[in-house]
Symmetry: C2
Subunit: 334 residues, 2 copies
């Protein structure tokens, strides 16, 4: 069995561990504090995961070591990065050493274009989990690209949180209550503007665009946040307190869309000419318009899928399905 290292041992990292144990020899798991190296029994690995779930750091466990886990990697290892670190340069080093990577971590793929190309150029890095979690979105984009199809447009709803928000507004709920509800459900970051700002969606769009070969950076993507510019510098508490000021504006935009037989979605749109992330009125009977709630959806319009797009849809977040995409990549890299 191939050796596997897991860096990042939060919910996704631990789910990768549990799903991967039947398929791989676990060489090490690492978090910011340090790492635990194998061999350990499967039972013991699961106990390490249980301890971490209760708040213990890996370095403080009996088997734990502090220091740089990379030095402890066996040669020709598979590495799953489930962190949210901007560690592209370090990952490129690993690839140069002959390691193979499966990423749930979007940030290294959105760094400098040269780093992206160094990471994925040798096809030693896969990243299905970075867009739509377990939904087969990257693999579908690869299928279209590799078979010589010409992608003319990718349109996607790539944030469950923003999908929930816009479905709520569609149902007549004020923007402010929808944001508060999403925050209370734990669906937003502690600062909801981290979701409402659209940067996470833009990262996903950039990953798809780069997968198609477009040589873009994050700064090339036009982003319309779901709050006005003057709200950017407020504290979280001030932002939450002033949400009601935005209710009328979003309700009106939704009403204008409805008057046209349309509805509002937060759409990532990628064409060979550029990408745009923002609020968009879409026809009720279009794939994006028929979407309800937090599901993700991606529609590819291509030379071959021109009259009607290829569509993938479903829950695009969650620890177990994100881990399943990482495992899919790990198995493909064997």
């Amino acid at each position: 069995m191939h050796n596997l290292a897991i860096y990042g041992f939060g919910g996704v990292g631990r789910a990768v561990l549990a799903q991967a144990l039947p398929h791989f020899t676990l060489a090490l798991v690492a978090d910011r504090s340090g790492y635990v190296v194998g061999p350990l029994s499967n039972e013991r690995w699961l106990a390490v995961a249980a301890a971490k779930a209760q708040g213990t750091t890996l370095a403080s466990l009996p088997e734990g070591t502090s220091g740089d886990w990379r030095a402890a990697l066996p040669a020709g290892c598979l590495v799953a990065d489930t962190t949210a670190e901007a560690n592209a340069a370090q990952l490129v080093e690993l690839v140069a050493q002959g390691q193979r990577l499966a990423l749930a971590n979007k940030k290294p793929l959105c760094d400098d274009l040269n780093l992206f190309q160094a990471l994925v150029g040798e096809r030693r890095t896969r990243y299905e989990a970075t867009v739509g979690a377990g939904l087969p979105i990257v693999v579908t984009t690869n299928l279209l690209r590799d078979s010589g199809d010409q992608v003319q447009r990718i349109e996607g709803c790539l944030s469950g949180t923003l999908g929930f928000l816009l479905s709520s507004i569609e149902q007549g709920k004020p923007y402010s209550s929808a944001v508060r509800e999403a925050k209370a459900l734990g669906w937003t970051e502690p600062d909801p503007r981290d979701d409402l700002g659209g940067v996470d969606v833009a990262r996903k769009a950039l990953i798809l665009a780069r997968t198609l070969g477009y040589q873009w950076n994050l700064s090339d993507i036009a982003i319309e946040p779901l709050y006005p510019a003057e709200f950017a510098d407020l504290s979280i508490a001030e932002f939450m307190a002033q949400l009601e000021q935005l209710d009328a504006g979003y309700a009106q935009r939704q009403a204008e869309a409805v008057a046209q037989g349309q509805t509002l979605r937060y759409v990532a749109s990628i064409t060979p000419d550029g990408a745009r992330i923002g609020l968009q009125a879409v026809a009720n009977d279009s794939p994006l318009g028929s979407l309800k709630g937090p599901d993700n959806l991606v529609a590819w319009t291509t030379k071959r899928y021109q009259e009607r797009p290829l569509v993938v849809r479903g829950p695009g977040a969650g620890v177990e399905v994100t881990a399943s995409a990482v495992l899919f990549d790990l198995l493909a890299l064997c």
Copy 2:
């Protein structure tokens, strides 16, 4: 570059050739008459394809040879089977010799269970194109299986022809005119009962079920044909002449569905307990109910996708997209 052989040189086989030329060294192409071996220039290969498209057999070309193409295969070759032959035993022999296979041909996967297992057991055979053409349906099923998810139900509309038929009935068109129109468009086999009978859909369902590990044969799948048993023994001409007798029955079933807020679809339903192919009333706002026209759709309900299914949808037929799935498999087998 890896060696590639293409067996079956109809529309799909020729599209595989055109898509594969940038990626592979074409070792040979074969049809029922014989074969042409490389090396040839890309231009010459395309000329061979053009001649075949005009009705010439491969054996009768200047470069052609009659006889068994298998004897001319280089070792460690990739083989694309784009025929409709029931040639499982021969393919198993090829796999045993170390060749790797990409199939657009469903029949070998639906033969005896032992042959299926011998074909796919070593993961030297892939078959994305056999279900939904270029749509990522087999790869998604693999993703769910390999990551340890538990598939509870797969529901699919897997025939563009029958999707067109039922959409037409939904729009108030009589069954007879819809069948005649599909036949006139070339969307049915010369005998439309080959489509209406549901066996082709059942083959796709069996392939998905076997992919999940269910040890079933085609005879284990309950099939409801879209015509009554007493129409089975008519000649094609008699069948076409008597279609009007069926109009009232199907119109009534559709009306009954509408009265319940439902509509009729021709559904393949696969659960761990068995598979069933037939007419089914589905809710208008369900994924299957929202489908219109000839698109294919598959919805996976699993332990992890339980509340809302994972859905793939789009055109599920066509020479170019079928070939693109074969190419996807060939690249994955490299």
